[in-house]
Symmetry: C2
Subunit: 155 residues, 2 copies
């Protein structure tokens, strides 16, 4: 771990906030002791609800590496990731994550992270955004095709 | 609900799979009875671990609407969303979600959704990807600045 990378993530967060790009969140991704990608929250300026600092940095790092995997990388984020970003981290599979503020700190500052964590633990029909099953067989048939597909690339 | 929108989502999923763009997942977003955005998984072709069908469709729909919110929209996805996509859905706030296959169906077809759901319920230090707290005060100071910021745009 290296505090200077976290300090950089917090600086990105502060700059993004001051420039009204989005919320106060920043992220850097490090490989072999060097920053390979940076990001800050730009939800409101980009009209992109997925443009959290971690997602922005992960997408840039993958472009940089020409890979959909962040093997050998460390991610420094100014706040414990929300469920969306945590999911993205698991799909990208960096070696390690460092975070500064906690999810409770984020909730106290007015962000929905804790609410979303709680919603994820409910069954779909009990969530605040109604989630309804429809035409299941169409998709399970497709999954069977996927399982049998010979030239597929796993991810 | 309208089955033809789910059929379209599954068709996008099948086409993306056949074209080796990524896994067998598709999504459409509907407003006022019309499709305003479509997406299919393109993780492996785009080298983007966040390019799940729902994320792709949400980003396109927000560009289409010029908004970071999907108020008044319905999202049809060929599979119950993974935690990343579910998080994105909560941030985008559509009115309703329809899904075909379940997360268990996805797990049986070899996708990590269930593993990620389980990891999210663990405390950070117990997860398979190590997650370590560092320099918390730097970020909580920043959150205090955010709370006091007068010209901020909430999201």
């Amino acid at each position: 771990m290296d505090k200077k990378f976290m300090q950089r993530a917090v600086k990105l967060a502060r700059n993004g906030m001051k420039n009204n790009q989005g919320g106060p969140f920043g992220c850097v991704i490090v490989k072999n002791g060097k920053i390979i990608a940076e990001g800050n929250n730009s939800v409101t300026s980009e009209n992109d609800p997925t443009a959290h600092a971690e997602i922005v940095a992960i997408r840039k790092a993958c472009i940089e590496l020409g890979s959909f995997q962040l093997t050998g990388c460390e991610l420094y984020t100014s706040c414990e990731p929300c469920p969306m970003c945590l999911g993205a981290i698991y799909w990208a599979r960096p070696d390690r994550v460092y975070f500064a503020a906690t999810r409770n700190d984020a909730a106290e500052a007015g962000f929905d992270d804790e609410f979303i964590y709680n919603e994820l633990d409910l069954s779909p029909e009990k969530r605040k955004i109604p989630m309804i099953s429809l035409e299941r067989e169409l998709a399970t048939d497709l999954f069977s095709e996927w399982v049998c597909k010979e030239d597929k690339m796993d991810y």
